[in-house]
Symmetry: C2
Subunit: 364 residues, 2 copies
């Protein structure tokens, strides 16, 4: 999407034809800086330090990391070491392992001489596939926004939680893909952006990407969504997800469940946008089966932002000695989800709904 | 309640017998400092700059402000000017006007010579009445905690939102009064403290007062409560309220409604503690009738805390140019409230429930 009129992707080949450009997302929203990845180490560091985050983008970065490793040394030993180094950066990221496996499979039975070129080609394919998936999600979600627009005067008010925008993917995003397509096609939209404590991905990333692309939006505290829905100021919720169960339960950033409850209580449609790669066909009951990561309490007790002196500064919010807990995700039961927006279309949040779009997943 | 073993009230006469000591709540949780009010201007400034906040404490401070004014100049002109100055500090605070009216009524037909003494006496009565009310709320709420304890092993896990503790009142607090009584009587309790964005009264004030009194607690992002309830980690919610309608709808800090929805969805009792002075008998439908204050967007876009250099520092969280909205309160419909804890007892959140405790409010 665009940053002040210029089209970017969150990861793309540099003009030199071999190194890779990313956006250092740790500096957002206060500074927009691109970083060149010129080695496996650069790629691993970018993932580990969360210069890149979001499952699809982590996978894409790992893919290019293997390409950079193959360029430097295409031996089996080099590629195996590269795969291990990349896997260790974010051990729980499902897409990371998937992308590495894809890359290693593509290089199997390829001569050393041909490996670098093949690796770059496969990394590029992985990125293009992500973009195509997200564009398809956007296309399937767009009619929901169009329908909301047909029911009212003025802009369609959407609410989203966390960042499921283009910064989390290679381009377009998942939850925001329909929003960008609507905006670009002239449909008037306005997005309520949950700040998404404690890591503030909404206030920092979603607000930044919407503002730079020119999409009208307003940042609100996570507490505000229920009130906004009670007063008819939200027409549609769209969020992303880290994992969806085969029965349609949705694991997403902590707080998503509260918004789904408010949407249900006020008759506001609540949709979840997802690439089918994040469906976990092996489990059904999200509450019982999805382990919820507990992160460092310092993410709750401390926060960073731009001080008056222009420096990014970390401050403590809580009294010394008060403990904090930091559950990173929650599970929204399928019964609260109006529908799942996938690259193959929109379906009910249920096993039957998912199988209608992915019949190949039905058992024998 | 206690601060590191020493009993304080949020407002109390100084040892000199005429000036008044408050806690500068703007410095919490990073510094505990008491401030002496020695004049009407001191009292007005304390209210205006939010060194004192919370409806009961604002009223108590205004009462002492009038006593200080009467000590300096007991003329009618002086008292009228003092009343106007105090009223202008927080124009929408209902308790402020109530306390001033009480003070002026107490001084009517009192000779100039006797006014200062009468004013101090009435201010003290107003404070003692608040303490008695809160202690009674605590006494009526305590059996709820005791009952929760009887149903389980280990400490009773409560969840609260914002600050309805002793810092918001003269002592004990409203929502936290049952918690303090339980803790002091040896019942094991643990409080999940919503940080309560955007002003962070939970992280700053509730966590501080619980920690200083020695009550086990954990600060969580406002997003976390639903997840905690889904996993059986909350036995009871108790929150305060700024205004309760005659039908039991509850206006409280933004985000309260989301927690009430989660409590209902998970079968967790959700109680609201309130002095009957905050019941608005003139209105029934809170959603339609309670105006919701919109505060400055800077409270969402910026936040203050303690930097590593030991200074309280304000930082910006959002991208430059991203607008923010800041609705301060929301309304929790009576249907989501398990009961109202008042100084006269616990009742259903309904007109009938309230009238069972306050029969004098029934129409003819």
């Amino acid at each position: 999407m665009k940053v002040d009129g210029i089209a970017y992707r969150s990861i793309e080949p540099a003009e030199d034809g071999w190194s890779v450009m990313i956006i250092d997302q740790t500096l957002l929203p206060h500074r927009f800086a691109r970083v060149r990845l010129a080695s496996l180490d650069d790629a691993a560091r970018a993932i580990r330090t969360m210069q890149v985050r979001g499952a699809p983008l982590i996978g894409a970065t790992a893919a290019y990391g293997l390409a950079l490793a193959a360029r430097a040394d295409p031996s089996d030993e080099s590629l195996e070491a590269a795969a291990s180094a990349l896997l260790a950066t974010r051990p729980t990221a499902v897409n990371l392992r998937w992308a590495i496996d894809e890359m290693l499979a593509a290089l199997r039975n390829v001569s050393r001489e041909a490996r670098a070129a093949r690796a770059y080609a496969r990394a590029r394919e992985i990125c293009e596939a992500d973009v195509a998936t997200n564009r398809a999600i956007g296309g399937h979600g767009l009619p929901l926004i169009r329908a909301a627009h047909a029911r009212k005067d003025g802009p369609v008010n959407l609410l989203t939680h966390c960042n499921a925008g283009w910064l989390a993917t290679v381009d377009f995003g998942t939850a925001l893909a329909p929003v960008y397509l609507a905006h670009d096609s002239g449909l008037p939209v306005h997005v309520w952006v949950d700040e998404t404590r404690p890591r503030n991905q909404g206030a920092a990333l979603t607000a930044w990407e919407l503002s730079r692309h020119g999409v009208p939006h307003t940042v609100v505290a996570d507490n505000a969504g229920g009130h906004l829905m009670q007063h008819g100021r939200v027409d549609l919720c769209i969020v992303g997800t880290d994992r969806t169960t085969a029965a349609g339960d949705v694991c997403n950033k902590i707080g998503t469940y509260l918004k789904a409850l408010a949407a249900r209580d006020n008759g506001v449609p609540f949709y979840v946008a997802l690439p089918s790669s994040t469906i976990d066909w092996a489990i059904a009951d999200g509450l019982a089966s999805v382990p919820i990561e507990e992160r460092a309490p310092e993410e709750v007790t401390h926060i960073s932002g731009l001080a008056d002196d222009g420096r990014v500064t970390r401050i403590r919010l809580t009294p010394e000695g008060s403990p904090a807990a930091n559950h990173a995700f929650d599970v929204t039961p399928a019964r609260l989800v109006s529908g799942l927006i996938t690259e193959r279309g929109v379906c009910a949040a249920s096993r039957q709904g998912l199988l209608s779009l992915f019949p190949e997943r039905a058992g024998p």
